[in-house]
């Protein structure tokens, strides 16, 4: 029986919240997180509060995703609050796709100091700020941090290399972002910066509603066209090499590992 402060398996539970403008890769990132850690045995609930995005929402990939009933900001805020209560009672990890713009989640964090309140209940909040190579992509981070409404100690600024479409290298394309004052201020407060690797055929995978494992294995669903010749290889390369390297850059306590299957390095030796 969970005691309300720990996940069912005895570790602190995590709430990973993806934030950012529309179309910066919040859903792609959370889709990757959930597939990757569920494959390793982690118990993760999927909360999809992104009501603007229907075609590629988390509900497309995870039939068990929870969605709020249609309503206004206040309804979504209430729904998120009820999901947080359930999480505290049941002790699983969760991811929240808050959607872009001013959302029910924004309304909630404006209303109450969510991070501190959840920490008291044993839930650590991990902020995943998704950005593309445009300066304006950091406005979100800037406004959340300036208002003090939501800036968890555990913050990852995720630069999405998949948004670099001009043929430039991600290093060059993101040059304005590294120098941005809001990013540097967030890093000084403890945020980490990572680059989410690009998958050139991401749309081919997501449009078919395939998991990355399925796409890597060249699976075709009934009525679908097969992917291009090398696309399964591209997905396999990304899924089995680049994505593990990407998660290696996270502090381990910020990732939703299956605590029962994990032991510390000291216990291993």
């Amino acid at each position: 029986m969970p005691d309300g402060h720990y996940s069912r398996n005895g570790g602190r539970r995590l709430l990973l919240v993806a934030l950012g403008r529309q179309r910066v890769g919040k859903t792609a990132l959370l889709n990757t997180v959930v597939q990757y850690f569920r494959a390793q045995g982690s118990e993760i609930e999927v909360w999809n509060a992104d009501q603007q995005n229907r075609t590629h929402s988390l509900s497309t990939f995870f039939p068990d995703a929870s969605v709020p009933l249609e309503g206004g900001l206040a309804d979504t805020r209430g729904w998120i609050e009820s999901k947080l209560k359930e999480q505290a009672e049941h002790g699983y990890h969760a991811v929240l796709d808050a959607g872009g713009g001013f959302t029910g989640f924004s309304a909630l964090v404006e209303d109450v100091p969510v991070i501190a309140a959840l920490a008291g209940q044993g839930t650590d909040v991990i902020g995943l700020f998704c950005v593309g190579p445009e300066q304006a992509d950091l406005d979100y981070l800037d406004s959340f941090s300036q208002s003090g409404a939501f800036m968890p100690e555990a913050t990852m600024i995720v630069m999405n290399a998949g948004l670099v479409l001009s043929g430039r290298s991600p290093k060059t394309a993101f040059a304005p972002i590294y120098k941005n004052a809001a990013l540097q201020a967030a890093v000084d407060r403890g945020a980490n910066v990572v680059m989410f690797p690009a998958l050139t055929c991401m749309a081919e995978v997501t449009d078919r509603g395939l998991t990355f494992e399925e796409a890597a294995a060249g699976k075709i669903k009934p009525g679908q066209q097969p992917m291009a010749l090398f696309d399964p290889t591209r997905v396999r390369e990304w899924w089995t090499k680049k994505i593990p390297e990407f998660f290696d850059q996270f502090p381990p306590g910020w990732l939703p590992f299956d605590r029962a299957a994990s032991t510390t390095p000291a216990q291993e030796s």
């Binding site: 390793q40 991600p170 590294y178 890093v187 494992e213 396999r236 850059q249 994990s262 216990q267």
Partner: protein, 164 residues
């Protein structure tokens, strides 16, 4: 009571012993050839391996705590050892040289000196040849550390790419 039987991931074999290595290592090494083709495509490889290892009565696996992680670490060690062994076993055939005895490598002229400011700002960053560091003067130690980390990642990426 159940009438279904779990399907094993790999066929049971007599376990070879590898001096100085544990039982899980020996089990994985013995079955390496069968596991290798599955490693990139199996949905839950570690759990399936754990089930087979437990079924085979490996005593090191009796303590299920952290078993899947222990298996995974041992598996990585097995892969390294198998690769090292294969490399060592490869016959080192030296083909007869067709290069004339008086051949000398072309000497590349030295690059122009890097401006002093850039040298100072990127002294500890690992930057690909011809690339520039993201580290800039005036960055705080934390920002600098993050930029150096990104420099290393980009350098690794650049190594994988063909020259343009």
């Amino acid at each position: 009571m159940t009438d279904t039987k779990r399907v094993r991931l790999v066929r049971k074999k007599k376990i070879r012993t590898f001096g100085g290595r544990g039982q899980i290592y020996s089990w994985l090494r013995t079955h390496h050839a069968a596991i290798e083709p599955l490693k990139d495509i199996h949905l839950n490889l570690r759990a399936a391996l754990a089930a087979d290892i437990v079924e085979d009565g490996v005593t090191e696996a009796a303590d299920r705590r952290g078993l899947r992680d222990r298996i995974w670490k041992s598996w990585q060690r097995v892969c390294r050892d198998v690769a090292a062994e294969a490399a060592a076993a490869k016959p080192k055939r030296v083909p007869p040289s067709r290069i004339t005895p008086d051949w000398r490598p072309t000497v590349v002229p030295p690059r122009p000196a890097i401006p002093a400011q850039q040298t100072a700002s990127s002294s500890s960053a690992i930057v690909p040849s011809g690339g520039t560091s993201l580290v800039e003067p005036g960055m705080s130690p934390r920002v600098r550390a993050q930029m150096e980390k990104l420099d290393r990642i980009f350098a690794e990426e650049a190594k994988r790419r063909l020259p343009r």
